[in-house]
């Protein structure tokens, strides 16, 4: 098999908390991303699912090099991202573009759509001829479903709907023809009625352009249309990883089961009994010694409090971090 486009190994991103200075080392850290390992193949979409604050955005920002990982490696298209600096990092980012959660905040209110979409080309000094650049901007807008592009070029973000803004953000990401798209909850701020459109657009881009996608969401209900595989994240760690159908139909980790049980099913009669998790998410600065899910786990045993289960293979391509999965 060909080597994957992205290979993440034992990635850790810690944020120091509390007062610290040059003289005093910080005492505690938020383990935003804590020992994460996964691959994304060329043209594959991996969904990253997990509740708010589990470190999904931090993982995406670390992949982009916007957050420095504490340890671990990110192999992107054969390049070690964590070792890159300056112009090399900039060049690598050309192939890796991100779409942010909030289309109201992620577009500069003072720039026109045409300028926003052309910006990546300007930053990377690509398509320097004016006509060339305009053609690429138009093509990107069309690819993002803003047709005809002339209608949108001169507009400001405030003159667009939320869905249209997110399409502008997608166009700005596509204009560089990246190999990997990091979509950080691209639909969670949008109206329910237009979520499907944006998700279908991403699925289409994956199909037609063979773009790899890391699709971040906290809603398992939005993954089926795009994702080939699902990674479930809990408190900075991936606790289950497998093909979409496998994870959705045969979840192995109790956390995944709980997430699935609260995801609205298309057919209400098929809905299983809801598993309501007891307790709060532990403080991410003071993680429990054993399995980090144990304090909230409905099936926890004494073993779970004592030892941290590693991510183990169950069947082909399906892994879970549970002693009893």
């Amino acid at each position: 098999m060909a080597s994957p486009l992205v290979a993440v190994r034992n990635l850790r991103t810690l944020f120091p908390v509390g007062a610290h200075s040059v003289f005093r080392a910080p005492a505690t850290f938020v383990h935003a991303v804590d020992d994460v390992t996964f691959d994304i193949d060329e043209g594959e979409a991996l969904a990253l699912v997990g509740e708010s604050g589990c470190g999904k955005s931090t993982l995406a920002l670390t992949l982009l090099g916007l957050e420095r990982p504490t340890t671990g490696s990110i192999d992107f298209a054969g390049q070690e991202m964590t070792a890159l600096k300056g112009s090399e990092l900039k060049a690598a980012r050309r192939n890796m573009q991100m779409i942010f959660q909030d289309p109201y905040e992620s577009l500069n209110p003072l720039m026109r759509v045409g300028e926003i979409v052309a910006e990546p080309l300007i930053v990377h000094k690509l398509a320097n001829a004016r006509s060339d650049r305009e053609a690429r901007v138009r093509a990107a807008l069309e690819a993002a479903g803003l047709k005809p592009p002339e209608v949108y070029l001169e507009r400001y973000p405030y003159q667009l709907s939320g869905g249209q803004r997110q399409r502008v953000a997608i166009a700005a990401a596509l204009v560089l023809e990246p190999r990997l798209l990091l979509a950080d909850e691209p639909v969670s701020m949008l109206d329910v009625s237009i979520r499907a459109e944006i998700i279908n657009l991403l699925a289409e881009l994956k199909q037609t352009r063979k773009i790899s996608i890391l699709f971040i969401t906290h809603d398992l209900g939005t993954v089926t249309a795009v994702a080939d595989r699902i990674a479930v994240m809990y408190l900075g760690r991936i606790v289950e990883l497998g093909r979409t159908a496998d994870v959705l139909t045969q979840p192995r980790h109790p956390y995944t089961k709980a997430l699935l049980s609260v995801t609205p099913a298309p057919n209400p009669r098929l809905r299983k009994e809801r598993i309501i998790l007891k307790g709060e998410t532990p403080d991410p600065t003071r993680l429990p010694g054993g399995c980090r899910f144990a304090p909230r786990c409905p099936v926890a045993q004494p073993l779970c409090l004592a030892s941290d289960p590693p991510l183990t293979a169950l069947e082909t391509g399906h892994t879970a971090a549970c002693h009893f999965g």
């Binding site: 900039k90 500069n108 003072l110 720039m111 910006e119 001169e154 400001y156 700005a172």
Partner: protein
């Protein structure tokens, strides 16, 4: 189709043109500038070649020959007033240019770079902020040979702190916004981000601040000159006040020698304040209903007239 967004400089200027208070201020300032620029045309006399004055010409009241009267040296007050406008406005503009440039760069670097740079720059700003400007300016100007450029430099170098603080806080808030992160994710460098994403959102505030710094600089110059620290070769309004005040204008009944420069200073400062207020209203529409100017109040009181008139009602009946 709309051509610009409400937060940008172009749109700010367009909305400003609909703000009556601001436009009045602008008209006042433009009038003052016009008088200064066209002083040689308007002024009845040439200050470089003043007509011979005798003791009989001192503190003459306003007349056709001297519309604003004459001063302690028997010179035409209108002429001095017009040429004084040049000095006062020039000092105001140049000094505020220095202040705003320093404050802008300081605030932008502190806010954008953050961390230790921010700490050091803001400590320095705080120190400058607590040092009383005017006494220090007096000392510095008094110790040097009084010259226009020393005054400009001193006012400029002491007047940037408020700009630095303002621009820093605006930069900080713009820097946190998502579109800046997105620009970084695209691969943009610091200079590009400052130029394309931070500055456009900081600029309107900088313009407001500049107007207010100008009026402050003019006031400071007037104060220094009034204290007798002005450049004798370039008499400003403050200096006219100083001459009139120290050379017996009041006891001689020559109030016009004080009134002309006084009105000039108030006029320009008021103009700048009105422009600043107008710009602020445009930038922050919530300020439009200022608690002092509006009839709506936060705390509703029963209408006073009623309670006052109630006991009197029988008498009136």
């Amino acid at each position: 189709m709309e051509s610009s967004h409400p937060g940008g400089l172009t749109a700010t200027m367009r909305n400003f043109s609909r703000n009556r208070m601001g436009m009045v201020g602008l008209a006042m300032l433009l009038l003052a500038i016009a008088l200064a620029v066209f002083a040689p045309v308007i002024a009845p006399y040439d200050p470089a070649k003043p007509p011979r004055a005798t003791i009989m010409d001192i503190y003459l009241p306003p007349s056709a020959e001297h519309p604003f009267g004459t001063d302690d040296a028997g010179q035409d007050v209108l002429t001095n007033f017009l040429y004084g406008a040049r000095v006062s406005l020039m000092v105001g503009f140049f000094a505020s240019f220095i202040a705003v440039a320093i404050g802008g760069v300081m605030g932008l670097s502190a806010g954008f770079i953050g961390g230790r740079t921010d700490n050091i720059l803001m400590r320095f700003t705080d120190i400058m902020l607590v040092i009383p400007d005017l006494p220090l300016a007096v000392v510095i100007v008094a110790l040097t040979k009084p010259s226009l450029w020393v005054i400009v430099l001193v006012i400029g170098l002491l007047g940037w702190t408020s700009t630095a603080r303002l621009i820093r806080s605006q930069t900080l808030s713009v820097k946190q916004r998502r579109f800046v992160t997105r620009a970084r994710a695209v691969g943009a460098g610091n200079f590009y981000i400052i130029r394309r994403h931070i500055l456009p959102l900081v600029l309107p505030l900088l313009v407001v601040n500049t107007v207010l710094v100008i009026s402050l600089a003019i006031l400071n110059e007037s104060t220094l000159s009034f204290l007798g620290l002005g450049d004798p070769t370039a008499p400003s309004w403050g200096q006219m006040l100083n001459f009139a005040f120290t050379r017996g204008a009041m006891s001689a009944g020559g109030w016009w020698a004080l009134l002309a420069p006084g009105i000039g200073i108030v006029w320009v400062v008021l103009a700048c304040t009105l422009i600043g207020q107008g710009l602020e209203q445009v930038l922050n529409p919530r300020l439009a209903s200022h608690n002092l100017s509006s009839t709506k109040q936060m705390i509703l009181r029963p209408p006073r007239t009623q309670s006052q008139h109630a006991p009197q009602a029988p008498d009136q009946a």
